[in-house]
Every structure is written in C-alpha cells, then in structure tokens.
C-alpha cells in the first residue's frame, strides 16, 4: 500500500507511467494531497486490513507545497517506526521516501526494492492472525449461548 503526495511523488509515478517504466505490480497507490496528510491511523489500518508493507512518498524536504507538511510526516514516521517495532512488525514493511515530480526512475527503484524486501519477509497476514487468535473464543460460544437470538431491547 502506498500513499503518494499529489504534488511530487504521485506526479513522479505518473511520469514513470508515461515513460513506460516497469515496476513490480504489487503496489496499490493512494493519492493524498500531502505526505503530512497521512494519519498514522491510515498506516495501521492498512496493516490491519492485510497490507504486507506500507510506503509513504512525499516531496523532498524544503519542497513541500504546503511548506512544512513533509516535516510533520517525517516526525510522525520516526515515532511510528518505534511503535511498529514494539508491536512486532518488521522495519522493512514501512518506509518513507522523498521523490520529486521529476524522479520517475526513483519511483520504480523504490517500489521494486521494497517489494523485494517484503517478499523476503513473507506475508504479514494480520486479518488471518486476528482470525486465529479468535478461535479460542469459538469453543465457548456454542456451549454457553444456548439461545442464539439476542434478547429484544425495550424498556418499560
């Protein structure tokens, strides 16, 4: 899953496309107005929904269309890396890159490099893990809940 800023990295991905460059097909790009728009919740949600890696692309430091959005991005990312590490998610699954509108080649290189590293780690598969964790609940569900219908909610 990749979040690319509208002004630089997304434009660079467009350039890579019109220049007929080839990169690994595993990436799904979402355009955001700025790398500073990427709420850490987006990254966690992507992992929780099954992404094996998350890439954020923004303008080089000093080039932000909104002056300091990419500073906000890098500050959050530095801390988010530590949170992900604390939750057992490998470093190579999360990456921030500065890619300007003219660096189509860099889009290709970064995506290929990241896909290769994530492939070496194998799937993260959080949705499947959640399901496995919750198997311990199912055994009781059938023994205790004799009547599966929920009691109607009305007070009076």
């Amino acid at each position: 899953m990749a979040f690319f800023c509208n002004w630089c990295t997304y434009t660079a991905a467009d350039l890579a496309g019109v220049s007929r460059m080839k990169h690994a097909p595993n990436v799904r790009i979402i355009r955001v107005m700025c790398s500073g728009r990427v709420d850490p919740q987006f990254v966690l949600q992507a992992f929780a929904k099954g992404a094996d890696g998350v890439l954020i692309g923004g303008c080089h430091i000093g080039d932000c269309h909104y002056v300091e959005g990419n500073y906000k991005a890098v500050r959050r990312v530095r801390m988010l890396r530590r949170v992900l590490q604390g939750m057992g998610i490998e470093e190579d699954r999360f990456r921030l890159e500065w890619i300007s509108a003219s660096e189509g080649e860099k889009v290709k290189l970064v995506i290929n490099d990241m896909v290769e590293k994530v492939r070496a780690l194998g799937p993260l598969g959080l949705p499947q893990r959640f399901q496995e964790w919750d198997e311990e609940l199912e055994s009781l569900q059938h023994t205790v809940e004799a009547s599966p219908e929920e009691a109607p909610v009305h007070v009076g």
Partner: protein, 324 residues
Amino acid sequence: MSVKPKVAFYWCASCGGCEESVVDLAEGILDLVGMVDIVFWPVAMDFKRHDVEAMPDGSILVSMINGAIRSSEQEEMVRLLRRKSRLVVAYGACAQLGGIPGLGNQFDRDQILRFAYEDCPSVQNTDKVHPQPRSRENGRVVTLPNLHQVVRTLDQVVPVDYYLPGCPPTPQLLNQAMTRLLSGDLPSRGSVLAPDIALCDQCSRKDSKPVDLKFTEFKRPHLSRLDPQQCFLAQGLVCMGPATRGGCEAQCVQGNMPCSGCFGPTSRVRDQGAKILSSLCSNIAATSEPDIDRTLATIPDPVGTFYRYSLANSLLRKRVGPSV
C-alpha cells in the same frame, strides 16, 4: 415479587476501582437501590452463578460489566450475562478499551506465564510448576480457567449496548447513565455515555495552550517541577488531552498531573494511540532526522504511553510474535 428493574454488576480483568466507583455514589447508592433490584454483584452481595443461570433470558434490565476479558471464566460469565440481560454496558476503560490489562498484549501468553511463575525475582519455584487447567490432588480433580492468548475488550467477546468510559467512571456519569437507562429514553446503541469532545475543551488550563507547540524534549512528570496553572503541553509534558474524550471533570489536571487517556478517543477517532502520536510528534521543533530522533527518545515507551488504556482496542490489537 418486586417489579423494580433488575441490575447486575460484574468484574473481569480489572483492579476493583470500578467497583469502588459504584460505592463512591455514597448516599446516592441508597437512591439507586430504591430504584432497582441488584440481582448480582459478586463484590458486594452474596449471589452465585447458579442464581443468574436460573433467571429467565432477558430478565435483567442492564448488566454493568467492568474489566477486560482475559480468561475462559470471564468469557463464560459475560456470555451468560449477555443472554440474561436486555442491555449490557461496558463499564470503565478496561471493558471499553482493554485498559491496563490490555498492555499484556505486548507479550505472548507463554512469556507472561514464564515470567510470573519462573523468572520474576520474587518467585521461588524450583520445580517450575505452572497452573494447569486440570490437575489431580488427593484423588480429586481441580480445575482452573484457561488464560486466553489475547486480552480483549468486552465488545470483542459479546455485543455491547453502551460504554461508560474512565478509570474509573465518575459517580456523576454513573448516575446520569442509570437515570437515562431507567427512564427508557435510550441513547442510540453503541453510544459512549460521556461528552463527545476532547478533554482540552473542558480543561481549566486551555487558555495557556499555545497555538504553535514546539517540543524540544518530553519531560516526565516525576522528574519535573510542574506549574499548577499552565497547559502541560506548553510545559513539555505528554498530556493525552487532545486525543482523549472529556467528561472526567479533568480530575487529573486538577491534581496537577497530565491526562493519561483513560476516557478513550472521541467518536471521530478509531485508534487513540495513533492519534496522540500524530498530534505530539508533528509538533516537535526538530527538522533533521537525528534531531527528531533525539527529541522522540525522551518518550522511552511509546506503546505504553500512547496506548496506556487502549492497546486491546487498537487497530493492531496485539504484538505479532513474542517480544525480544
């Protein structure tokens, strides 16, 4: 036979503070007992599980359940209470978000058991005996509940109608909730029964919160002299106020301690820890990676700080694999 509505209280993985908060109604508890029949409350009254089993399904108006769900016994009891109750309220931070017990999700169950029964410095257990779900003693079979692999919020186990936030909820919120539920004027299902606005909005120090924060380091409360009037963020402390729901009467702030986040997020936020991380970190002064890392290093335990009460409810829920 009384026709007063029936109410049950139950506790799961919690410290007992939520039970205490019911008692903190003080004389108000007499009004409560006047309005309802308490049919089950293991901490304070002598009813047993078989008494609950004997009740018809749906005959309890509301069950107030506190604590996270950590064992098969807790799971079984909340499923039973769900079946017997028309309404289930997740009472307090542990039931709503996982609370402090939810921090156990940073470790695997085996790691926790090994530490508690072998490696903890105050433990003497040369035979390395661990509790067993079934064991035999003098010809009798002794059983214990299973410890789950994952600490869960109440709504990850049974459907929950309402949430009363807090560690613990205030007597005022409990009173309001009881009055509302008894009146039959029910809020929409799934509501959190507290104001849906960040604590900062209700904080007595909000006027001293600067428009632009520029953290150069994060101070720790026990190592700092705290100004009793100024916004904690302006003093360089981690205060969870911007990412935490109000309604607690800002009691910690009144006591000159920054908010640690027990009321959980507002309805617009899914993951409280990610939101406070976003707010604090984007407001640090440093601009280069090494300087940013130096400032961030002054928060030594990000997961325990940002997810103090909400790890079990977070998007990632639990650590993947054993911790190192």
